[in-house]
Symmetry: C2
Subunit: 107 residues, 2 copies
Amino acid sequence: MANLDRLFNALSDPTRRAILQDLRRGPATAGALGAAHPMALPSFMKHLGVLERAGLIETEKQGRTRSCRLAPGALVPVSAWLADQRLLWEERTERLAAFVENHEERR
Amino acid sequence: MANLDRLFNALSDPTRRAILQDLRRGPATAGALGAAHPMALPSFMKHLGVLERAGLIETEKQGRTRSCRLAPGALVPVSAWLADQRLLWEERTERLAAFVENHEERR
């Protein structure tokens, strides 16, 4: 539960979603990633921290730079939650459709 | 973009996810929904407001009660974003696998 909180919260910011998109091209240093975003480095590092604590990225200090990469499988809990929701919402829609059909037949 | 922000933010709270789960059973009044959650009514109404502004639920005032129901299709943008991410992360994994295979062959 707490992990879903952190994941959804991490994904609720456009800068953080853009960082994930940037990292699709491969690992990058925090500096290189930050250059693409018009904000102060401390603010940018906070976004990286939120992504890392949510388990969406992995970072590694290499000398004076910090290398970042996507964490494989990190979106699985989000995907599972969503699949569960969709399944059950569809079930409800189907039940509603069946009810309407029955009702129409009876008229 | 702004809509994804609101959707992910709305989903980042366990009470709000529980409300969506409760509403799978069908429409319910705010009072009936709130009875299941140990918090003051104003706090609970704020959660309903966040869900409604994100487009996840629809509410309707009926006399002195407010009826709530799931908004059909509300999770489509989240689902689309996630599908896009998974596709591209899988592509990267495949490219990495191909690279490793090539590298192994050359050794």
